[in-house]
Symmetry: C2
Subunit: 352 residues, 2 copies
Amino acid sequence: MGKRVIVIGGGIIGASVAWHLARRGAEVTVLSAGPGPASGATFGWINASFYLDEAHFRLRQAGMAAWHRLEAVAGQGLVDWCGCLNWEEPDPAETARRLSGLGYAIRQLPGTELRVREPRLAGLSDTALHAPEEGIVEGAEAVARLLAGSGGVVLSGVKVSALLAEKGRVSAIDTNAGRFEADHVVLAAGTETAALLAPLGIELPMLQRPGMVLRTRPVEKVLSHIIVAPGQELRQDAAGRLVASTVGKHQEDRADRIAERPDLAAEATLARIAALLPGVDLELESVTLANRPMPADERPVIGAVGPEGLTVAVMHSGVTLAAILGELVAAEVMTGADDPLLRPYRPSRLIA
Amino acid sequence: MGKRVIVIGGGIIGASVAWHLARRGAEVTVLSAGPGPASGATFGWINASFYLDEAHFRLRQAGMAAWHRLEAVAGQGLVDWCGCLNWEEPDPAETARRLSGLGYAIRQLPGTELRVREPRLAGLSDTALHAPEEGIVEGAEAVARLLAGSGGVVLSGVKVSALLAEKGRVSAIDTNAGRFEADHVVLAAGTETAALLAPLGIELPMLQRPGMVLRTRPVEKVLSHIIVAPGQELRQDAAGRLVASTVGKHQEDRADRIAERPDLAAEATLARIAALLPGVDLELESVTLANRPMPADERPVIGAVGPEGLTVAVMHSGVTLAAILGELVAAEVMTGADDPLLRPYRPSRLIA
């Protein structure tokens, strides 16, 4: 019998970890507290152009490469590699120089080329940054595909009540649906992770980082790239919906609450989109609020914690990092590998 | 400005109520606590062949008719009217006689015809009941379509913290995302309904009725009807997945817990399906646990409760009843209509 691994969390990180564990021969059970796959509330942008330090850039860059490897084995079409056009940067030349220096595919695009690439957009800048290798993952669809492809048992509506250890080693978990024995537990429960660790005496400090994703009803194809205009991230999904991301505090992503009531924030977002896309008839379809799983120093938390056999994996951006994290966590769980990419992200830096 | 109605609950009942309210000119806001549409955990069967008394039968029968009306205006394809074959009934002749007497489309089918209709099924009975007018709703898809078509504002990830009243009338609700003023509130929050009413001093007694819906990976088309074999409800979805319903206590649907651990119950269910469909290669895709929203006397709870301007709508089976409830609740909210179909289901019978 293979190693019995329970993955707690049915979002994009849990799904990718489960997929990679299954490929390595583990007997995987994924427990999701909600009624189905999570990660439906993400804007879905895969990039390494936003990062906190060089190690974080390298991890995100590895994350982009890992999505290509995952697509090659799990099926094409998980990612829409549409590239990004960004004219929000205050100093695009400096940003392009810095990212190019790190080996990132990015260049400045003159306004003329910008207009050719996105003829429907108004309010364009004279220059924009083009990151041709960035892409979009539809979170809920990717989760469903990875979980279905994992070959593991996926149980939704199962809430964990306790992680049990015997002689310093994880032995089982208790849930609302009975006790599950396990050789290893991977905790990838996003914003719920800290609450699940607390009864073990492990205090994982997390930040409140609410975000909002707005979707319009489908319209004709009006966008070909991820758009980062001043104050507005925007893309179009395969069905034609415009998808916009709004954060608590505009352009900072650091607020602990959404400043406005979400329906009012959505109205303001629709007005910004209307200014970018004149002549497009915009109607709101849905608005989803969610907290990002953001550890206290804004960096991923990945690795062993507490009793032997317990691994935690919680981070923002889950979408950019899911594929590489799946590879690395599965390797650690199954072989004890210790990848240098993960060293800056060990739980010990935050846990007393 | 139209009447501002807030619908709390993003499941099939909330979605249908919102859709019908919007058609009547209300300004509708739907608040859903989860990250997206609910009702993904239902088997999805529309029928009136199971009922508690004649009034309940009439309501369910009206529920079936209302789905046809809803499809005519909201778009075809919401329901797969595939009909049901049932050979679980201990006395099919008596059941057929009783349901026919109520005006229900049902007849006994000889084994020969059964084998023609479902050639892949093994273990068939000599006789089965055929209810040609029953159908299937894919819960999550129907919710998404109705919400998108409602024209209302749909906010997910919004948790209600308090229902506020002024001078005996609903005035607003508080949420994790701010305060929303309202002329009327419809509480369609399923199993969460009682907890939302409690702070108003309203105690709505509910039962625990856990159920499990299992989905296999897609297989070739092997079923054309909803199947009710002894001990197993089964259907096939449009993608080819076999979808099975399992309840806490086999054949009774009355247990307050699932007897087995869900992965073991799923194994047993797969074994039963394998016996029904020899030669079909079955692999588990997902298992979803959920509690049915079941009031203490097993009947729907629909109507005004507490302060003026508050309407509650909680019931099992939400799928069968969603379309008719949407019509009737929207009419009550907008015109004060009092439909005789709803009289047996007023909250007052359960609330002291």
